[in-house]
């Protein structure tokens, strides 16, 4: 790991419970600037919960997460300000169905007065071009395919000019033939130097794009390292077992 790069997300002894169920037990990890971190693991291992803690969609039960110097467990930190710089992409896209694509993209920048209408529109068009959706600016979400929706969702997050992007199984709800177009956009983002944390089951993508791979199971990070180390030469029996099942 390049030690002189800035730490963007610092996680130490993170713990998260839903009632009696302890989903995350003791997670410590640092995400550095420009890094692409891919989290893999069996379902129920806590990987999505871990990701959702990073922008406080889940309350943190213990430990701390510091994002861009803002401690999320500090009650004085304005979580909305932090979220403006942390984009998130969801498994089920979560586009706003009552707005067209352009309105989806412009809502947050204009509502939060990050940009004038003109500037926001300009930026939105630029982002749509980036994800190859500029001809669908006036379309409504239910006129789009799954892959197109997810690309719009990525563009929507990018309109806030975040410096961190979180992806929660972005291709899991897609038909197989649409997975490629979304991964392509994500690869482009990674190449542009975006700091990314991705929960995914796409092992090929992880091998190709990730700087670091985390394998989670039972609320812990069981193994971590480069894709080469974790995916091709896993040491922990649980990692080996998991990879045997999915590959």
């Amino acid at each position: 790991m390049d030690a002189n790069k800035n730490v963007k997300i610092h996680v130490s002894h993170l713990q998260k419970s839903f009632g009696k169920l302890e989903v995350l037990k003791d997670i410590s990890y640092d995400v550095h600037e420009g890094e692409v971190v891919v989290i893999i693991g069996p379902s129920g291992s806590g990987k999505s919960t871990f990701l959702r803690c990073m922008n406080k969609l889940e309350e943190i039960s213990g430990g701390e997460i510091v994002v861009d110097g803002h401690n999320l467990t500090d009650r004085h930190v304005d979580i909305n300000k932090v979220r403006e710089n942390v984009g998130m992409v969801f498994q089920h896209f979560n586009l706003f169905p009552h707005m067209n694509v352009m309105q989806n993209l412009m809502l947050a920048p204009v509502d939060l007065k990050k940009a004038t209408k003109e500037k926001a529109r300009e930026r939105a068009l630029q982002m749509l071009r980036k994800v190859g959706m500029e001809d669908k600016a006036e379309a409504y979400p239910d006129q789009l395919s799954g892959g197109q929706k997810q690309r719009v969702a990525i563009a929507r997050a990018l309109c806030m000019t975040p410096d961190i992007m979180l992806f929660d199984e972005p291709t899991s709800a897609l038909d197989p033939e649409m997975v490629g177009e979304v991964l392509q956009v994500m690869k482009q983002l990674a190449a542009d130097g975006m700091t990314m944390v991705i929960v995914t089951h796409e092992m090929g993508f992880a091998r190709e794009v990730a700087d670091r791979v985390l394998f989670m199971d039972g609320g812990y990070i069981v193994e971590q390292g480069t894709p080469q180390e974790v995916l091709l030469n896993p040491k922990e029996p649980r990692t080996i077992d998991f990879l045997n099942k999915v590959l």
Binding site: L57, R83, G87, F90, F96, H98, L107, L112
Partner: protein, 223 residues
């Protein structure tokens, strides 16, 4: 029949106007109450949720006629005998309050159900972009919730319009109350109740047609 219409028609029409007036005031405040208690029941705050559910349960658990008597006769009595002060309510004020409380409780439930029918992912997506809770509610969740609420709200409006007839018991000169008076003078109960029924039917049919059109317009541009 013609004779009754020409003789008492104007009275009955005026009474229909009073019915509509009462219904409009009732609905106006019911919408405000419904919005307040509907939102209180969805925010993530236990105290607010409990307050909202007590309101809904109490009002729904009391027949409106009892509510109307309680407000019109009970409250002024309480002010006079327990507090030693004077408070009088007109039949319109008491009737509006009874209607608004009754309809408001049902509206709160409609609004709660409407908001909860919106995929929680919508709120999460809006929040993840940095929108504060209430901005996300107003810009993203409510516009979607309102579409699903509209048929139930229209239904509730019609029920409330008909419920104004219950308020004849506190002496408000709406249609049923006036009809009773007309019968007392003319002894023509078959004709008068028939006319009153048709009057309700006409007004409610017109209202539901307007509502249907409104609903269609709101749903246009979607899908």
């Amino acid at each position: 029949m013609i004779q009754i219409l020409s003789k008492y028609g104007q009275m009955l029409l005026f009474a229909m106007g009073q019915t509509l007036l009462l219904a409009l005031w009732g609905l106006f405040f019911a919408c405000i109450l419904g919005m307040i208690f509907g939102l209180l029941s969805v925010v993530r705050n236990k105290v607010c949720n409990v307050i909202a559910s007590i309101f809904v349960d109490v009002i729904r658990g009391v027949p409106m006629i009892v509510l109307a008597y309680f407000i019109f006769f009970g409250l002024p009595y309480a002010f006079k005998n327990f507090l030693g002060s004077k408070m009088t309510l007109t039949a319109l004020q008491a009737g509006t309050a009874a209607l608004a409380l009754n309809c408001g409780a049902y509206m709160a439930e409609i609004i709660r159900a409407g908001i909860q029918s919106v995929d929680p992912g919508q709120m999460e997506a809006a929040r993840s972009l940095g929108l504060p809770y209430w901005r996300a509610m107003v810009r993203v969740v409510l516009p979607q919730a309102i579409r699903t609420m509209i048929p139930s709200i229209i239904n509730q409006f019609i029920i409330t319009l008909k419920d104004t007839s219950i308020l004849s018991v506190i002496g408000f000169p709406e249609l049923v109350n006036t009809a009773k008076n007309v019968i007392a003078i003319s002894f023509k109960s078959f004709e008068v109740w028939g006319i009153v029924a048709v009057m309700y039917l006409i007004v409610i049919t017109i209202l539901s047609k307007i509502a249907k059109r409104l609903e269609r317009r709101l749903n246009r541009g979607r899908k």
